[in-house]
Amino acid sequence: MTSILLAQEFKSPTIEYAKVAPLLIVFGVAIVSVIAEAFLPRRFRYPTQVVLSLGSLAAALVVTVGLAGSKLLAAEGAIAIDGFTLFLWGTILVMSIISVLLLAERAVDGGVTAFAAQAAALPGTEAEREAQARRLEQTEVFPLFLFAVGGMLLFPAANDLLTMFVALEVLSLPLYLLCGLARRRRLLSQEAAMKYFLLGAFASAFFLYGMAMLYGFAGTISFSGIAAAIGAKTGVDGLLLAGTALVAVGLLFKIGAAPFHMWTPDVYQGAPTAITAFMAACTKIAAFGALLRLFYVALGAARWDWQPMIWVVAILTLGVGSVLALTQSDIKRMLAYSSIAHAGFLLIGFVGVRDHISANTSAILFYLAAYGFATIGAFAVVTLVRDASGEATHLSRWVGLGKRSPIVASVMALFLLAFAGIPLTSGFMGKWAVFSAAWQGGAWPLVVIGVVASVVAAFFYVRVIVLMFFSEPAAEGPTVAVPSVFTSVAVAVGVAATVVLGLMPEPLLQLAARAAQLVG
């Protein structure tokens, strides 16, 4: 009988602290920010949290830029630091900085943030009215936000199944909470949080079950180990097929691909708009990063097995996103279906691959950056169009906005044109890159469907533009709030990125091309 003595084999792991410094900075400051929340007097909390969040994200961004050119497996192979990771880290950190600006906005809602005065006070009760009257603010959103960003940084860098699962949970749990913290329309917000939590937990369980099956198949959790096991297998392996399908469910849920998209409209509509912007941009970026790394590095050799499945998902996603967006009467729901459609375009780029993944990877990286900037900008504009009950999100309220405030309406129109993929905007370059990569990868039927879907999608974007500019404004329309410098900067960055990436995409395209190598 063999006795098991684990302790005798212990060897101190080496952790490349300098290489994972962006993660350590974000998580470290998140913990400091919890301490600040616990010990600072109430009036100091908001300024301290804003400074801590912006400072840590900026520091992490600087360190990430300094890491350029790194290519190694850090922390005993658990974290892959390569061009792909660094590009995504940079993108996520820039988008997070813009999101913090939206989170910190106080000017549009009478001097308080858009988050619940006291999350524990039930909506419509005396306790809530008292908290509102005392102008309380729930500044816990900032540490929660930092933890979510940390999880998103780890997610696409994870190089084994367990690290990936931990990252998935670290990014998801704070997001569930953040969704439920809106100051206005709190029941809708809490409903969103509940739905997101229940469905997200369900999706995580699928992912976990898939992980267990892949481990059962390969006998290891490392991506390179799984790739080696696939290379050595003969014939069809049920564990591999089932495991692949189940982990795909978990990741496609986070991406918002059909048929796992059901949560997206409700959650995007109910969550505070700043959080919706953050989720729509950063969660999608992080989840696509993880999808690419898992499916290209670990399961790349089994491509013939999973490609048909992703084909079906991509077509469904495009159909659901484009067609159902047509019927929406709420701007946030419409943007949610639009984000589903964008997930479909990205999936075309992801699945249309024959021999070389680098063209597809760089196209997706570029698309994610272009889409992220426009998305945050569009949701930032949504926070500005308000009436007495908060944001006026119903499309009928947007009628004639171009007559009342031409600048805000023009900015929104620019973002919508970028979503539609009109030339000279970033959206066109993104779609072009993704479609051409998929075409070269032999997925021409998908590209044709993608083009048709873009035409359908263009219709509902243009419909909003027509509403804003070519209709007479209603008598008691919403007003456009004057934002502080925070939201102004967020919108300005979105506009600048959308225009610059549309006119001069070359520098970012080249950067994405250089970042397209994944270590494995």
């Binding site: 101190s12 301490i35 616990a38």
Partner: protein
């Protein structure tokens, strides 16, 4: 197959203990019913009457329970470290201190927010 024998024995012992205690309790235990014993079991809160229209109900029990679980899990990690302390050397010590510090940050937050005050 030998490796599985201890697990099987443990399984039998565990199952046997549960069955024996349940049966023995119902056969030998005194039966003095009162209102609390026939009420539905809810951890720490009055099951009825709930506040009409779903008002606030105390969650202090859950906070205490969650804190307990956090420290419970801390012990799960501390125990193997204590056993292999000499081999993990400085690295293990630093990692454990970091781990305990992060747990205590959560604890400090709960304490400062009044989560430890029962009334």
């Amino acid at each position: 197959m030998n490796l599985y024998v201890p697990i099987l024995v443990l399984l039998l012992l565990g199952g046997g203990f549960a069955v024996v205690s349940a049966v023995a309790g119902s056969l030998m235990g005194p039966k003095r019913w009162n209102r609390a014993k026939v009420d539905s079991y809810e951890c720490g809160i009055e099951p009825t009457p709930q506040p009409a229209g779903g008002g606030r109900f105390p969650v202090k029990y859950y906070i205490t329970a969650m804190l307990f679980i956090i420290f419970d899990i801390e012990i799960i990690f501390l125990f193997p470290w204590a056993v292999a302390f000499d081999q993990m050397a400085l690295f293990g010590l630093v990692e454990m201190v970091l781990f305990i510090v992060t747990v205590f940050v959560a604890y400090a937050y709960v304490w400062r927010r009044g989560g430890l005050e029962w009334d």
